[in-house]
Amino acid sequence: MNVILIAVIVLGGIGLVSALVLFVASKKFAVHEDPRIAQVSEVLPQANCGGCGYPGCSGFANACVKAADSGSLGDLNCAPGGKAVMEQVAGILGLQATESAPKVAVVRCNGTCEARPRQVEYNGAKSCRIQQMTGMGETMCGYGCLGGGDCVDACLFGAITINPETGLAEVDESKCTACGACAKACPRSIIEIRPAGPKGRRMVVLCNNKDKGAIANKACKSACIGCGKCVKTCEKFEAITLENNLAWIDPEKCKMCRKCEEACPKGAIKGFNFPPRKPKAEVAEAAPSAAPAVPKAEAVSPEAKQD
């Protein structure tokens, strides 16, 4: 009986003392945090991708709350969460969500194994950045995708893979959150974060080669040779610029007419997510003139704009 009593007293005493210590500590060392930070954190995807430019989601939540105190969220944007999350965040902070167009990562290289033959074999650690230190890499193109998969490792969402057939990185648009981790990881800056475009439709120059035409042409069959045909085609909208022997389409100015795609002799310009061109192809076969295609393309664009 005595033993049990002692045990109860001792254990109870220890419990009481510990509770007291914990209570005092919790009061004395309590950190006061804006409760909104926790609330904002809760709705964030918690991927800690760093796409927003802050270290992790809690850092972003902190920044949001701070920005809210100054009245507006500004250009703070959670890429993986997208519009829905930003609306929720704005709701918590009592603000209006700022509209931001959805973006997507685009691999600007179309140098498949076929178009860009592998002249030598790289036999070292599997990493683009290390392969880049050998100089040209496996092909004679010093600008194209190395296929080492640094972007794949960088992607937290499993949205990017290396296609073993083409040897190129491919983006799964449904998974891509445009956080930009892949673009940072790529030693050749091939990956560009571009507006996804209306209905996901966009025109992109799928090449990053800044060499002169002859060299680029020798290295890769689908390289941009800087001939400038696309620039001439786009004179009306001035969406295409040519710098360092490389064409670039300004997504803000592009009207999605797809004329540049036809004009490019190397097939380096590609439209994404457009409906198949079947009727046009038939017309083109019937009459070699591309004239009928023009009104059609123009008919598409206003529609796309409305969406």
Binding site: R118, E121, T134, G135
Partner: protein
């Protein structure tokens, strides 16, 4: 001509490989293996064969079915070595099923749980041995007396080991030093012949498989520490030579503590590691509940290896000058 190969330098390799190192240690263990066969006969052969086979099988099975890896890891020789070392740490009359359990724990728990070769924090063979020692204390500590070449299993006559005598304080019954050196004493398979183990150590040092730092620091510490105690009171404490030649000390110092994966990376760290193992071994031997402290000492220091690696950096080139400049 096929495609040219490109890579960063260096473009040549010294030709060393994991296999060469692992099988090098196995070759170094050959004299001890022969000694164990000489003293314990058939029993030793059965224990060692079971242990090696079981370790290799478990490694293969776990890699294939649990980890689903395509790499063939049994060819690198590390499982063979673990099996051999585990077998060396067992008495020759141990039932086969206990050995298989030991191998499963050694490979399964001690090694593959952590991701296989190179990732395990503790020496797998010792994990197996200590598990058996705690689970089956009776079977693990009844060592047959040497010379019963065909007696296997429970029929073998067992006797006290020198370490048990030391712990019991019966120093007058200790065997001759020469018997200890050649192995004419009771004990686990690989522990008995100190001479055979030293031959193996010499081979490993010659082949540059290991450096002298760990074995010398362990043996040195044990010799110095027990030497001091012996000088204080020769009646209670055995002489340093006896300590050096008995039990698993020699086996542990030369083959178990020097395990690449679980020992520190720098020479300075290795010396600290060795001194601590030596110290702990003597403490456990003389004042602990177990007569032998080597396994525990090594496992304890294995746990400290990452810490030692963090704090013991090699001497950087130009460091002395840097410090002088700072002054």
């Amino acid at each position: 001509m096929s495609k040219l190969i490109i890579s960063l330098s260096p473009h040549v390799h010294g030709g060393d490989s994991v296999q060469k190192n692992m099988y090098g240690v196995c070759i170094a263990l050959a004299p001890a293996l022969l000694a164990s066969l000489w003293f314990f006969g058939l029993g030793a052969a059965i224990v060692l064969a079971t242990s090696v086979l079981a370790c290799v099988c478990f490694e293969w099975a776990i890699a294939k079915f649990l980890l689903k890896s395509n790499r063939c890891t049994i060819c690198d020789g590390s499982a063979v070595l673990t099996g051999l070392l585990l077998g060396f740490n067992l008495p020759s009359n141990l039932p086969i099923w206990i050995i298989i359990i030991g191998a499963l724990v050694a490979i399964g728990v001690g090694k593959m749980t952590f991701g296989g070769l190179g990732c395990n924090p503790f020496n797998p063979a010792l994990v197996g041995r200590v598990f058996l020692l705690i689970s089956f204390p009776v079977q693990m500590t009844s060592w047959p007396v040497p010379g019963q070449l065909t007696e296997i299993g429970a029929d073998a006559v067992t006797g006290a080991t020198p370490l048990a005598l030391i712990t019991a304080g019966q120093l007058d019954k200790l065997p001759q030093t020469t018997d200890l050196l050649f192995g004419q004493v009771g004990g686990s398979l690989g522990e008995v012949s100190a001479l055979a183990l030293l031959l193996g150590l010499a081979f490993m040092l010659w082949k540059k498989i290991i450096t002298w730092h760990i074995p010398v620091s362990i043996l040195g510490t044990v010799a110095v520490f027990t030497g001091i105690l012996y000088l204080i009171n020769p009646a209670t404490y055995a002489c340093p030579l006896t300590h050096l030649l008995t039990g698993g000390l020699m086996l542990g110092a030369c083959y178990m503590a020097t395990d690449y994966v679980t020992s520190p990376m720098t020479h300075k760290g290795q010396l600290i590691y060795g001194v601590c193992i030596g110290f702990l071994t003597v403490v456990i031997r003389l004042w602990g509940a177990y007569p032998e402290g080597m396994s525990f000492a090594i496992l304890i220091m294995n746990a400290f290896t990452p810490l030692i690696n963090t704090y013991c950096k090699p001497k950087r080139f130009g460091e002395v000058v840097r410090k002088e400049a700072a002054k």
